[in-house]
Symmetry: C2
Subunit: 149 residues, 2 copies
Amino acid sequence: MSKAKLRAATVGGSADDIESAFYDALQKGDLDKLMACWADEDDVVCVHPGGPRLVGASAIRAAFESMFANGTIQARPTRVCKVESLTSAMHNLIEQVEVMMPDGPRQATVLATNVYHRTPQGWRMVVHHASPGTPQEIQEGMDGTQVLH
Amino acid sequence: MSKAKLRAATVGGSADDIESAFYDALQKGDLDKLMACWADEDDVVCVHPGGPRLVGASAIRAAFESMFANGTIQARPTRVCKVESLTSAMHNLIEQVEVMMPDGPRQATVLATNVYHRTPQGWRMVVHHASPGTPQEIQEGMDGTQVLH
């Protein structure tokens, strides 16, 4: 099976479907499913909260591999703002992340911009830029989490 | 009308032109020029380093107005990573920002994702997500700043 067919078989559908697959892969620690969400472009970029920018699939894969070695990432996307065109979708959202601390699980809030392009292989992620949330987003989360997918 | 003439008739030109106009407006404190860069969409998003997310033109305008009341923003885009399609452009870049401190100017490093969509009005910004740079980006800046526009 060709690389393109293999990818198409793994993840398909809309930008929303790719976003769901991305967060599902984080929650399950599924590195192959996670990497299948990304576009086959040299300049895809990933920024984890407080981390350096990672450019290209190899750097992104290595960082997620290290993270998964410490466990899965229980991040849920909420309050998604979208600007969509025929071939691109910009999603900005608030991630509610359950972090394991010595005294039990704690909730962290992260601001993330995810951008998807419609490529010959289907919709694919071209950037995931995440940064720490502020008291405003934490308050929004407490006001009642609106999970959109 | 030919495609070339149609392009010439649209305001602003390419995504790169809008990006140049955005940083020029920051450097000059030109609020109207800055706001003209944004798409006419409810869900455009702006995140300043360490700040909350601002959704919609009114919130974004008010935040920049407050910032300009304290002076202009001397931010220069460098080391731009791009993933482009016919109607969308994702730029991730390192901003070198000159910040005035009591003992003189200091250089700050910011990581920014800027996304542009080709709209009926021309190319327009749909998100500006900025977060503090890390030692990696500061080092890259010291290695020789590569200004791409």
